[in-house]
């Protein structure tokens, strides 16, 4: 039976061993892609647009190789994801105090390019993590294992860019995005939340 990533699940064989192999391959590819992003973006990989684009392209290719065919996102999932992203941002703003200074950081054209790249990277990460990898791990070891594995992977791929202090924050974010995946059954909601959070965080 063939499922769709955006609506239910991706195409998965019944055999858990194949799913586990697929999950391991995806993790290996993810680790290699994150390392490539770090090396190619030197000396400041978090600020390299070409490295980010390469990373997004590699993740999309890996996800596509598993047979992921994202279904057309449903409006309600996108809205729910955006609402979750806004809610998380509001919690952050409340907890951390009155430090939010929304101000223009760059000329408009540069901001437009940045917004597109940031959104592409966020969506690519979600298609691979909460799409292909989540489905593979879920088929091999259940949804709880998928939630843990994808959240850990999300946190660890950011360590080369930001250091180990990124782990607790991104682990929590990963669990929230994974829960959105569980609730909605697809990647549209976590992708919307992820992209919105990245855009809001970048505008601070």
């Amino acid at each position: 039976m063939r499922h769709h990533c955006g609506a239910v699940l991706i195409s998965l064989p019944r055999h858990a061993g194949r799913s586990a192999t697929r999950a391991l391959l995806l993790l290996a590819g993810l680790a290699a892609a994150a390392s490539l992003r770090t090396l190619i973006g030197r000396p400041d990989p978090a600020a390299s647009l070409p490295a980010a684009l390469l990373f997004a392209g590699l993740l999309s290719a890996l996800a596509a190789a598993t047979g992921v065919r994202p279904a057309r996102p449903r409006i309600q999932h996108l809205v729910a994801g955006a609402a979750a992203g806004l809610a998380l941002f509001a919690v952050w703003a409340t907890v951390t105090g009155s430090w939010i200074v929304i101000r223009p950081e760059a000329p408009r054209a540069e901001l437009l390019v940045w917004s597109v790249v940031v959104s592409l990277v966020a969506v690519a990460e979600e298609v691979l993590l909460r799409g292909a990898l989540f489905s593979a791990v879920a088929a091999a070891g259940g949804e709880a294992a998928a939630l843990v594995a994808t959240s850990l992977a999300f946190a660890l791929i950011h360590v080369p860019l930001y250091g180990w202090q990124a782990v607790p924050v991104d682990l929590g974010i990963g669990f929230v995005l994974g829960s959105l995946r569980l609730l909605s059954g697809g990647v549209a909601a976590p992708a919307a939340a992820h992209a919105l959070l990245d855009l809001l965080a970048g505008c601070l």
Binding site: P13, A65, G172
Partner: protein, 243 residues
Amino acid sequence: MNRRVALALLALPTAALAAVWHALPAASPPLYDGVCLSDPYRLLGHTPAPNAASHVFGPVSDDNFMPSELTSDGTLMVGDPRYENPPQADVLLTTGTLVSPTEPFTLSITPVPSPATLPAGWTLDGNVYRVGAVTSSGVQLQPQSKDPATVLLRATASNPPKTLFVLYGGTWTRLQTVNAGCGDTFEGVSKTFGDFALFDQRAGGPAPPSGGGAPVIPIVVALAVVVALTFGGLLYLNRTPGR
């Protein structure tokens, strides 16, 4: 999975995140992700020069001061060639950080030449910034110990990770330093004002030029091969029927 369980899974990490965010320094980001936009670093003595900024505050007791942020950009806006993107220095004050009940005071951020003495075993990265607050009658103010200031400095590059130090009373003090979100911005909490700077533990001398040091090209090729093999393996798994 049951929706109630999933909703609980949504609420639990949100609560945990709130605790983590609360524990992190003031300017920590909501998540460590995305892509940072930044202009080239401005070194003191070069063109364009790094910015300085100051702001005058009215008299404040320890409970009527609003949380404030002063960046090295001051009030500069996009389009001004002096505009730094992002600001290279930033100081955050919360309620109670500074107390001057009767006099106004000026908070300032100024890039200054590197002091003659630097922390032993550490290499300076970027500019040294003097952060200070002085009342109209010339009294130097220091942060209250219960409400210290948060200082953010941008480094010339994110790698290797940097450590924030403050020079006060002739002594460099190492501050607990975390990445502030964009890869090259670091922050720490300080109970004193003084001269702030980022350092790394390179064994003397400036950073190697980009591309130097580790053999990057063979590693990049090896990683590309891993990605290609992984891609091929996934395709193979996808196209061969399961047992």
